[in-house]
């Protein structure tokens, strides 16, 4: 305890108005994201994950840093993640056991086995599950932000889009509508260098995603997406301006997708040395640890302690759900509509 106090007094001030506890909380979310995905990889290899597995390896920093800039809690800010933003959902309060149940298609999963992976939402905690059609969540989140504006609530909606998803019509329609309406929407534009196997050069003709967004009159900054605190700080400013009625803001995060599109993808199209360089020199968690320790904001022991607690939590969540039942077949029928509540069971099933 004594050494910790000493370190705190000698170390440079913590940026972005964060407290030491918040720095450690950010670290916990980063570690949780990675540990949970590693657990999912193990479950995938055991064929316990029903469908594909999508990793955010290398992008945990921008997911956690951006979401951490929101006001969290019941009926506060709102976000919609993409497939590589597990970290953002965890920050908003998604529980590891929910993620595990989703991937394993359990009856008790948030979508009761109806949807895949992290495609689920929670209106109270403030996140909306994406659908697979990239770009669609931009108009939808514009509608969420429009509601905040119509009700004069000081709330902000945040939505992610990738370097591939930004090629969709929905993205452009949605951001333009939101910009025209000056909605409290923050767009996190993820430049992660790969849309499945397609590099940015085949996706768009500008250098930066921010350049594309500025054409809509949307202020945009570009930050190092693997610097958690830089992402946090840039998003915080964008969120604050959006909350003050200054309209749509964008933050471009430069990062790198270090795994294939999904676990089945061997990334043969990616230069091996490029992958190794990003892993060796630019891992967002390694960089964050180094910064925390070098500046004296945390000690190795603090971080090891968090690692252990995260691992124990993921173990516990896995144990809690791995043997749970899958949904009853007939549970496929209810709730297509509010009314009628249940779809008709077809006649031949009664023969």
């Amino acid at each position: 305890m004594a050494s910790r106090t000493a370190a705190a007094t000698q170390s440079p001030p913590i940026p972005a108005g964060l407290s030491r506890d918040q720095l450690l909380e950010i670290y916990r979310y980063l570690r949780l994201t990675r540990t949970l995905e590693e657990r999912l990889t193990a479950l995938y290899r055991q064929s316990r994950v029903v469908g594909g597995l999508f990793r955010s390896l290398g992008q945990e920093g921008e997911s956690v840093g951006s979401a951490y800039a929101l006001e969290r809690g019941r009926h506060r800010d709102f976000l919609s993640p993409l497939i590589r933003n597990l970290g953002s959902m965890l920050v908003m309060g998604a529980e590891p056991v929910q993620i595990l149940r989703q991937y394993m298609a359990k009856a008790e999963s948030p979508t009761r086995g109806r949807e895949l992976n992290i495609h689920f939402g929670d209106l109270e905690r403030g996140y909306l599950g994406q659908i697979s059609h990239l770009g669609d969540m931009i108009p939808v989140m514009a509608g969420v932000a429009l509601t905040f504006k119509l009700r004069a609530e000081p709330r902000v909606a945040l939505v992610y889009i990738g370097d591939g998803g930004m090629s969709t019509g929905s993205f452009h329609e949605g951001i333009n509508f939101a910009a025209v309406q000056r909605l409290p929407l923050v767009v996190i534009a993820e430049y992660n260098c790969w849309a499945y196997s397609t590099p940015p050069a085949k996706q768009f003709a500008t250098a930066h995603l921010a350049d594309r967004v500025r054409g809509y009159g949307v202020p945009a900054v570009t930050v190092d997406g693997n610097d958690v605190l830089a992402v946090y700080e840039a998003t915080r400013l964008a969120v604050e301006r959006a909350r003050r009625g200054k309209g749509v803001h964008a933050v471009e995060v430069k990062t790198y997708r270090r795994k294939g599109h999904a676990e089945h993808d061997d990334q043969h199209y990616v230069p091996q040395e490029e992958l190794e360089r990003w892993a060796r020199e630019n891992d967002p968690i390694d960089r964050y640890i180094k910064r925390l320790v070098d500046r004296g904001w945390a000690e190795d022991a603090d971080l090891k302690d968090i690692d252990e607690r995260v691992r124990a939590g993921v173990d516990e969540a896995t144990d809690a759900c791995v043997d749970e039942p899958v949904p009853e077949p007939e549970s496929a029928l209810p709730a297509v509509y509010a009314s009628p509540p249940t779809a008709e069971r077809l006649w031949f099933r009664g023969l």
Partner: protein
């Protein structure tokens, strides 16, 4: 009672719901100061303000997507497609996002997408379409298609109040052609999912909706006058979900069925209706289930071409006569 057009009835319904419930708002192209291409929302922006009557960019996907997001958050958006032909630009948003939201994620998505549809108005290939078949195949959506002024009002009000997403198809040929006495100071609501028997008869049933309701009624009168036939006409009003009970009732009453729709033939709703009758009332049939529909071509512009492609009263008369004699 006051005589109102189909368009005015729709307008009244929208207005009343805007007054009744401040969660209701309108968004679409030129719906504000211009009042919409057909003036359905004329005067709305003055009464309800720009926040609740939102002029949007030409972006159907954004209009429907934003409506969905707002609906999740507790609002009751009514999105206008300037012509229903342009709803195809929001097809992904409607079929993949809106229609699945409740099932996938338990998300309430009470929104209405409405717009002028249909031909007989020389609108050419892109201002005359009937789009019901494109959405009929999507679980999670509801589709209503009023043919009368009363239902234009009753169904827009019911659609706004419904907890599911509803596509409301309004026929522009009926906008100012159909006039009806509607009660004043009394709630006009048409329940979603209920067909209406528009004419009773014993010889042949015509199952139809939209503009062809009026052509079918005209045909029925002619057949009564010229052939002494009593033709029953069922106005479906809601296309999704179909009112199977009403359909089977009329089948069992006349034992002969002619399905009439303005939409093209292949993959049109008549096929599904015929299949249901086959499954549920096969033994009640005294003849084949027949269809009168548009030809399978994009709708052409020239009056001679459009009139040839679309089903006309005379086509219905001939088909019903043939079926009655079967």
């Amino acid at each position: 009672m006051a005589e109102v057009t189909y368009l005015e009835a729709l307008r009244q319904g929208l207005w009343e719901e805007m007054e009744r419930d401040d969660r209701v708002f309108i968004l679409g192209e030129d719906v504000g100061i211009y009042g919409g291409a057909f003036k359905v929302t004329e005067g709305f922006v003055k009464q309800f303000g720009e926040a609740r009557v939102i002029d949007t960019p030409i972006s159907e996907a954004a209009i429907v997507g934003a409506a969905a997001g707002a609906a999740h958050m507790g609002m009751r958006p009514v999105a206008e497609m300037q012509f229903i032909d342009f709803i195809s630009c929001a097809y992904d948003m409607l079929t993949n996002y809106v229609a699945t939201a409740r099932y996938r994620a338990g998300l309430p998505t009470p929104l209405v997408v409405r717009g002028p549809c249909g031909g007989y108005v020389r609108g050419g290939p892109f201002h005359s379409q009937n789009v019901e078949a494109a959405f009929f195949h999507t679980p999670g959506l509801k589709i209503v298609y009023p043919a009368t002024a009363r239902d234009a009002k009753g169904l827009i009000k019911a659609s706004i109040r419904d907890d599911d997403p509803v596509i409301y198809l309004e026929h522009k040929w009926l906008y100012r052609r159909i006039k009806e006495q509607l009660p004043e100071g009394e709630e006009v609501l048409t329940p979603i999912g209920e067909a209406r028997l528009a004419r009773e008869g014993r010889d042949v049933s015509i199952i139809t909706y939209g503009a062809t309701l009026w052509k079918s009624l005209e045909a029925a009168e002619q057949l009564e006058r010229d052939d002494g036939l009593a033709v029953e006409v069922l106005d479906l009003r809601t296309l999704l979900p179909l009112d199977d009970a009403a359909i089977m009732r009329t089948v069992k009453h006349t034992n002969k069925v002619l399905i009439v729709h303005e939409d093209t033939r292949t993959g049109g709703l008549a096929g599904e209706i015929a299949a249901r009758i086959n499954e549920q009332a096969f033994e009640w049939l005294d003849g084949p289930i027949m269809r009168v529909t548009a030809h399978d071509v994009p709708l052409p512009y020239a009056p001679t071409l459009e009139d040839f492609v679309l089903p006309q009263t005379d086509d219905i008369v001939k088909a019903a006569r043939w079926l009655a004699a079967y």
